[in-house]
Subunit: 451 residues, 2 copies
């Protein structure tokens, strides 16, 4: 007999975890809907032609490929097989892969449905993605992404809206955060000021690691990437600026840099006077790794005493997301929420609503077969009133039934026997205090709703 | 430039479809929770060792297999490759497959977590499954299953509970149904009475098709399976019985048959006197194809004038579900809902709640840049009151903005310019009638909530 297991890097989510995850997903969904984002679901499988080449060479390797069905080897060249070249063989035996993120499927959907959609199109999407990364603490091969994007407009009020959305959602989740904002053009301006405009991407990738590796680490990273000591010093100086006046001065000769600052100012103007619950902070060290961002970039970090954790979300504007599928010129801006990390923070804060740990309000217990049917009816009426109720599967000895009530953490035991059947009553025992009450069948739903 | 597409047999669900699907899933989830079923999520990928051999030979073929990552050919015997035997090669290049149903992962989960779970364990699960079936109308390669099962008790009150759950859920969905009930032992009794007890499964598979192929079809099917004319006549006679007294008489010599009837009577006793909204009908022609059912079986069909459609759900009791993973003797009973068919019925009935077709209550329109910021603030306040609001991305000419409002099917246009900014007001235009109202910023959220 085999001992069952699940694939490395994947997880089962039992009742309590599932309820907690639903709390996160439902909260995000409500926020997305409230802010006018419309739902989209795409299939788990995409054609490999849609996925390949979109996530870099490393991404191509980390895609899960699905073996073609049927006699998939039939038309494969025997010489190719004999060569045992795993990479070369893939296109001949696999034409589909598992979704790697939600952005490429979104772009693919927009292009396929461009004539039916009304632009700007705002969509949210909460679905799992799969990556064949080496599993480690906090990194899984199946995990959910929760994205909101608007495509088809370069209006900066969407940047402001997404900041408000972050503020709203994390307030609802009960996590205090800092929402960091920067602009790719500001970073480009810094590269210009440091004389390394031609190596902007390299510089950005290094700066992006500041949070993780510190200023020393960035300095080393830049040196490893063959930036000159002079350029490194200038970049370092820029990253250490204390006031926006200093930054404005530094970027004054970079038209890109000044454009970036102007856009950030426009976003700020939309937010001015709005009551937000979390700090929105300009942070010129914020780079965000993804290469397709071209305008504002966002990142959210928890502002929780003693907690060290990566970002809980991020996003930004990309000037051209759908060009790769033949529809250029559609600007978009989007954010995403990291559900697994949000889960970990809420657990760390002990801040999940208590109700999520409870599965049962009242357990009915019957002493005999007739009472069991009577209890079944009582339970049905109680459930109709929206109360979570169960009936112990068999009538009989109460000891076992009380043990089960305790294991299910029921607040109330509702006991019925011959007398209760005859009188149309039920005995309620408070599992916390042991107090007992006799209540009529009529009153029961209301009574339980209030106790 | 490639023209993007999605894999055959898969679907994108755009905003309106997604909202309608969520209505179905949310309704079912609420019902499951109310009836004490706890959520479970399992990974999309399972080890092939978990999946293979559980769904018959055909099922093994229809599993989507995932290609191992990295240099998956490295250790494969060159002779095996040269043989081009697709089936033989699979275990050497794939160790994972996509979930084929929710029942086997549930059984696998129960066995892996048997020491932590409290039995009876009631779980629900709403997740997609994948099958490499030939796509056709109404049959997809990715589709959702919605299951509720209880495992670890043979109490018949769970059968009654699941019938009440079906009644409750379909009432909430707004679909009138008939809930058919039968018992495998009753069918076995019929096989005994017809002298074909040794060919019970064959008989069951044929009877199961009655709905689709009619009595003539079943007769032919039985003949094709080499049942004798005499046996066929007896089976046919049994299926044509009109009263439960006649059935009781027919089965009087079959102890299995009498046991089945007694169990059905116990289930009925639990339901007696309960107010149900749909008909519960005993149907001795109900067989349900799945071979692992051993007790009661259920099936739900729509009771909608003029609609011809297969079942909207089904289920039953299985004496031993986890034995295949080394944990014998756990009896379970479960039901499932067919979300795609429920969707089709609601569409046919035109019975989806109207709100699901609307994405927007009010569109804000601004005449100039300052007003655009003012409108952004108004929108934020309106959203805080729970109203779905949008701001047209750019200030300027109203014509384009009204066109957009029409395409988004907004009920109200909220127009602001210099005067409204100065007076802290907004002009509201009813998109249905053209009527206009001027409302103060202060009153706006309440006003829109009421109009």
């Amino acid at each position: 007999m085999q001992k069952p297991s699940i694939p490395e890097g994947t997880r089962d989510f039992g009742p309590e975890q599932s309820r907690r995850r639903s709390f996160i997903f439902d909260t995000l969904r409500d926020a997305f809907i409230r802010f006018g984002y419309e739902p989209l679901e795409t299939p788990a499988m995409e054609n490999l032609s849609t996925l390949l080449g979109k996530y870099g060479e490393e991404g191509d390797k980390l895609l899960f490929k699905i073996l073609n069905n049927g006699d998939y080897l039939k038309d494969v060249d025997p010489q190719l097989l004999a060569s045992k070249d795993s990479a070369q063989l893939i296109p001949h035996i696999s034409k589909r892969g598992l979704r790697y993120d939600l952005t490429i499927p979104f772009a693919r959907y927009v292009v396929m449905n461009r004539h039916a959609l009304v632009f700007p199109f705002k969509r949210y999407q909460i679905q799992p993605v799969w990556r064949a990364d080496r599993p480690q603490r906090g990194r899984y091969r199946e995990f959910y992404q929760c994205d909101a994007d608007v495509i088809g407009s370069d209006s900066l009020h969407y940047e402001a809206e997404l900041i408000v959305l972050y503020d709203y959602a994390f307030t609802k989740l009960g996590i205090p955060v800092v929402i960091k904002v920067n602009h790719r053009q500001v970073l480009y301006g810094i590269a210009e000021a440091a004389g390394v405009a031609d190596r902007f991407m390299d510089m950005t990738v290094a700066i992006d690691k500041l949070d993780k590796i510190g200023l020393d680490g960035v300095r080393k990273e830049l040196a490893d990437r063959n930036f000159s000591p002079d350029a490194i010093a200038r970049i370092e100086q820029a990253l250490s600026l204390n006031s926006s006046a200093e930054l404005r001065h530094l970027l004054s000769k970079s038209s890109a840099g000044m454009d970036g600052l102007a856009e950030l100012d426009t976003v700020s103007a939309y937010l001015e006077g709005l009551l937000l619950h979390n700090e929105v902070r300009r942070d010129i060290t914020l780079a965000r790794g993804l290469t397709y961002y071209t305008g504002c970039v966002f990142e959210v970090v928890a502002a929780v005493e003693g907690l060290r954790m990566g970002s809980l979300g991020g996003g930004g504007r990309y000037a051209d997301l759908t060009g790769v599928f033949g529809l250029p010129g559609l600007s978009g801006v989007g954010i995403s929420f990291g559900a697994d990390r949000i889960y970990d923070v809420l657990e760390y804060m002990n801040a999940f609503p208590e109700i999520l740990s409870k599965s049962l309000h009242v357990l009915f217990m019957a002493l005999d077969t007739d009472s069991h049917r009577y209890a079944f009816h009582l339970m049905s009426r109680v459930r109709a009133a929206g109360i979570r109720a169960e009936l112990y599967p068999e009538p009989g000895k109460l000891k076992k039934q009380f043990e089960y009530a305790a294991r299910r953490r029921a607040t109330w035991a509702a006991i019925v026997g011959e007398a209760e059947c005859a009188n149309h009553t039920v005995v309620l025992k408070d599992q916390r205090t042991g107090s007992q009450y006799t209540v009529t069948a009529e009153e029961l739903p209301k009574w339980l709703a209030e106790h």
